[in-house]
Symmetry: C2
Subunit: 445 residues, 2 copies
């Protein structure tokens, strides 16, 4: 208890009961500070106005956002965000990894911090929603707590993670997964990661100081757009993420024999392009043949010498497999590489694979899922438990403590595109669910 009468409102207002099913029930009661019926609500108009304001930093004529991690636009946006954090009663600090963290003390100094946030950097020529929705909602949750005089037991930290799109650099520095060798890697901004961290006010030499130990946080919550089309198609309000899929990525090199496209008869070719074509079609078939929600993609391809009048001697392409179960991606890769041998035999080519990327699946915390479910239900919203096919900072945070993620619908399932769109009312609903989940997590843990 502190001298401020607001500080203990949350404890009085929320009673958490863990049911036999493992689900938690949030019992809402009126208090002097929250006079309206039902759970407290965020100011949706403010979030959505700020969504528009953020577009001043990297908004494109095409209607999207080009705000690469470590770019000038990224840095400018963070200055504005820091101001919003202060308005929300948070004390913004840039850590050595370039993350911008807005802190507020809790009423119980013995408790670990509760983190929630997202990012503001975008892919090249990306959309306006991937990242900002979650970050602005997180700030709005803190703002609502302040406006309504709701104190939390836990310290809270609203996190703007640095360079999410460029490889979760900021959150992985905090989780201890960031490798020193990554510092020299070029990013889309033109800066190396090291230069980018310094540009944002971090200190790459002291990166180890950003690291936190597993078990050192009370929990992490993140609101994000779905980036797929399931919620919209099934008319569900809120997605409860059961986990973030693991990703395996390979560079596939197909070697045939470059030769003259006019002088080489069809039956004497070793055409790496033909072999690549059959490979890409086969990957699609193998991935779809198995029941489940796994995905497989070939998104990058290069043929050499790459002339219309020369049979390709070499083709390199990417292969990416994602699933919540690493056993599934392993089995898929075995099937794919086995079938590729046959394609090679038929086309006079060989296949080689270089393992270039692997992230392990990050399951969310069952109690966090229950808190989100309860929060949504209290607001009268429908929910669906689903995997996240995309990577998020939440997967790094899952290493440090219980993680929960909330999805809102993406119209048409479009993301990483100027056409990315989520309805303002869905953003507000998502922020309300986040607020309820934060309050419940504060009460529960």
């Amino acid at each position: 208890m502190t001298s401020s009468p607001a500080h203990d409102i949350s404890r009085r207002a929320f009673g958490m009961t863990v049911l036999g099913t493992g689900l938690a029930s949030l019992a809402w009661t009126r208090t002097a500070s929250a006079r309206q019926a039902g759970p407290p609500r965020v100011d949706g108009a403010r979030i959505n106005a700020r969504m528009a304001e953020l577009r001043r930093y990297g908004g494109t004529p095409a209607g999207g956002t080009h705000r690469l991690g470590y770019s000038d636009e990224d840095k400018q946006a963070r200055v504005v965000v820091a101001g919003w954090m202060r308005e929300a009663g948070l004390e913004p600090v840039t850590d050595v990894a370039g993350n911008l963290i807005g802190r507020r003390a809790g009423t119980d100094a013995s408790l670990k911090p509760l983190l929630f946030g997202s990012h503001v950097d975008s892919v090249p020529d990306g959309g306006n929603y991937d990242g900002p929705v979650g970050l602005l909602a997180a700030i709005e949750v803190a703002h609502t707590l302040r406006t309504r005089g709701i104190a939390l037991r836990h310290p809270i930290e609203v996190t703007l993670w640095a360079n999410e799109e460029g490889g979760l650099s900021g959150s992985r520095a905090v989780s201890g997964q960031f490798e020193a060798s990554e510092l020299s890697r070029a990013t889309a901004s033109g800066k190396t990661v090291e230069e980018g961290i310094r540009f944002l006010g971090g200190d790459p030499r002291r990166l180890a100081e950003a690291r936190r130990a597993p078990g050192s946080i009370a929990g992490y919550l993140e609101l994000h757009i779905e980036q797929g089309g399931r919620l919209e198609a099934e008319r569900v309000d809120i997605g409860i993420v059961e986990g973030i899929v693991g990703i395996r990525r390979w560079d596939v090199t197909i070697t045939g024999f470059a030769n003259h496209a006019g002088a080489t008869p069809m039956d004497r070719r070793q055409d790496a392009m033909l072999a690549a074509a059959r490979f890409i079609d086969m990957v699609n078939r193998v991935v779809r043949a198995r029941p489940g929600r796994q995905v497989g993609t070939v998104g990058r391809i290069e043929a050499r010498p790459g002339a219309p009048n020369v049979i390709a001697g070499t083709v390199t392409c990417s292969l990416e497999l994602r699933d919540l179960d690493e056993g599934v991606t392993t089995a898929l890769f075995q099937d794919i590489s086995r079938e590729a041998v046959r394609i090679g035999e038929a086309t006079g080519t060989t296949f080689a694979y270089a393992d270039i990327h692997r992230t392990v699946p990050a399951p969310s915390d069952p109690q966090m899922r229950a808190l989100i479910e309860t929060s949504a239900k209290a607001l009268g919203l429908s929910t669906k438990v689903m995997p996240s096919g995309a990577g998020h900072d939440a997967q790094a945070m899952a290493r440090l403590g219980p993680m929960g993620m909330i999805f809102i619908p993406s119209v048409g399932g479009i993301s990483h595109s100027p056409k990315e769109f989520s309805h303002p009312e869905d953003i507000t609903r998502g922020a309300d669910v986040l607020l309820g989940a934060v309050l419940a997590a504060d009460a529960a843990r």
Copy 2:
């Protein structure tokens, strides 16, 4: 008749009889100037030594040649070639299109010139044989005529065509097919065609002066490596080209929808890469389904945005079809575009085609084929009538007069590669066949 006793040797030495089948028979008789039995022979050692010497200009550590049209190496090689022309009794002149032409007068001033030659420029990181074999053989034929004191009735012109690999620029300027708009086109050398022509000593402003009228030449003969593997596989010494295939080339644009490779389920994708893969496989199947020697190739591909974690929204690729009969390529394209519609329907993508290149088939002259056949048979060499799948300067010359082309085997059918190789004895045989054909053409026309 002229004052030189050598001048009428060829007329006495060769008697041409056109048979009822349309084939010509070359009757060889001994003369005072050609004492050995059988047809006169070139100095094969000299050709092959010069093949090696030419590698001083653009020879690569990989064992091939990088001598781009209009490059420094190209220009340097031409200086040496001009010297060899002079040794062969030819007077080298650079025309306004940058072609290097070695002339020798004939005994009959009323006759049109007989042309034979090839090129010395290469594709990037190409081989040593594509071009030089034919040019050095042509010079060697002239050298042999001089050494043996053989006069020809026709003026002869040994032609080094400029920028063959970059689009037959020199020979097409002479045939009148070169368009003024091509002058500004960039070439692999880094120079525009206009800059390149000037660099070689031509004059792009006076290009029309290079042009010759149809019917203005007695004939054109070219020796070249096959660039395919048929002659070697079938153990045939000499290919008699029945024509140079027509080429049709398209840019194919496949439009799907770029989306997140993790968040977009397999059944909700409009994957332009998958559609491209099925297209490439289908092109191969359609081209091979029809009997004949037509070829179809997809050698270039670009996927956008081209990231491993983004479903391709757009793929552009090349499509090239070649055949001696334009009706065949037209029918193939109809089949391909019809099947592509179905691929588009199945993958949620659309196909669009931009017609970017067309050369019409260039049949060789039946009498020229007969002369080559007779020349080869007189040397005891086996022959095979075959199309040229590759384009050659000969196709431009076919517009001006009777054209004939001679192929020698390419080991493994490899071309446009450092591994391109033809046996020295095959080069010598080809030059001997060219010599016999030149002598016979001189006698016949």
